[in-house]
């Protein structure tokens, strides 16, 4: 059952990424680039996702455990440490360079585009580096 839930969750999220056009890096760059043609669509994507998620989270999150698992697995860290700050700034720089964050890049894998595949290969290398090299 956890396998089916995870598949459906991933499917819905990336179908939403595709339907909202956030799978298209030019669409995302239209939001990140502040000029006369600024495209606020990403704000509405975030707003709708936050409205749905926070409703579910605050209605259900007070329960003892999830429906099909023994316990909730939530991040334990609380402090605003150096890796969080530096890492997030670095991530944003890469995002603004090409317009891809991890979800849309992985969602676009079936395009077979050499640019998309190279981005994913470099991102995977980056994940590996971040696990080997602590800051």
């Amino acid at each position: 059952m956890p396998i089916i839930i995870a598949f459906v969750a991933g499917l819905l999220m990336s179908a939403g990424i595709a339907y909202s056009q956030m799978i298209d890096p030019n669409k995302v760059l239209g939001f990140l680039t502040l000029n006369a043609n600024w495209d606020p669509s990403l704000v509405l994507v975030m707003a709708a996702a936050l409205a749905v998620y926070s409703t579910g989270y605050w209605l259900f999150g007070k329960k003892d455990k999830p429906l099909f698992a023994a316990q909730f697995s939530l991040p334990g860290k609380k402090d605003l440490d150096k890796p969080l700050v530096i890492g997030s700034l670095i991530f944003g720089a890469g995002w603004g360079l090409v317009g891809y964050c991890p979800g849309p890049a992985l969602a676009a894998i079936s395009s077979g585009s050499s640019g998309t595949l190279a981005f994913i290969a470099a991102m995977v290398a980056g994940w590996f580096i971040s696990r080997k090299l602590a800051i």
Binding site: G16, V98, A108
Partner: protein, 134 residues
């Protein structure tokens, strides 16, 4: 603002939130795409549900393509820029413990101070780099 697409943005965003909250309600997990993918590749336990999630992520646009006849999207050209960007996104989300989904949607909904901070920072540097380059 003639490229503004409010309806598809709202519906698509709702689908993203729904998928993420399903993972929380049924499995008690945070739907952070960078964390799930990184752990699927580089840590041993819990690999099967993470791979199933990634299979869903890959299948999503194929589903939309079968439902919508005119669905298409652009992809970047192969360049050094793409490789540098991929490295920055990988290292940055690794150190920063999350991306637009885990911090930006799940974390902000949970009112996590770490996620709110991370989202403000990656939005800031993303806008800075994109705006300076174009």
């Amino acid at each position: 603002m003639d490229n503004f697409t409010p309806y598809t943005a709202l519906i698509g965003g709702g689908m993203i939130g729904l998928g993420a909250v399903i993972l929380f309600v049924f499995s008690g997990r945070i739907a952070g795409i960078s964390g799930i993918a990184g752990s699927a590749l580089f840590s041993g336990d819990g690999r099967s549900w993470r791979l199933a999630f990634l299979a869903g992520v890959i299948a999503g646009p194929l589903l939309i393509a079968t439902l919508l006849a005119d669905f298409s999207y652009s992809t970047p050209e192969l360049s050094w820029q793409v490789i540098v960007a991929g490295l920055l996104v990988g290292v940055g989300t690794g150190w920063g413990s999350g991306c637009t989904s885990g911090h930006g949607i799940c974390g902000i909904s949970r009112l996590s101070p770490r996620s709110i901070t991370a989202t403000v920072l990656f939005m800031f540097s993303g806008m800075l780099v994109a705006t300076l380059l174009r």
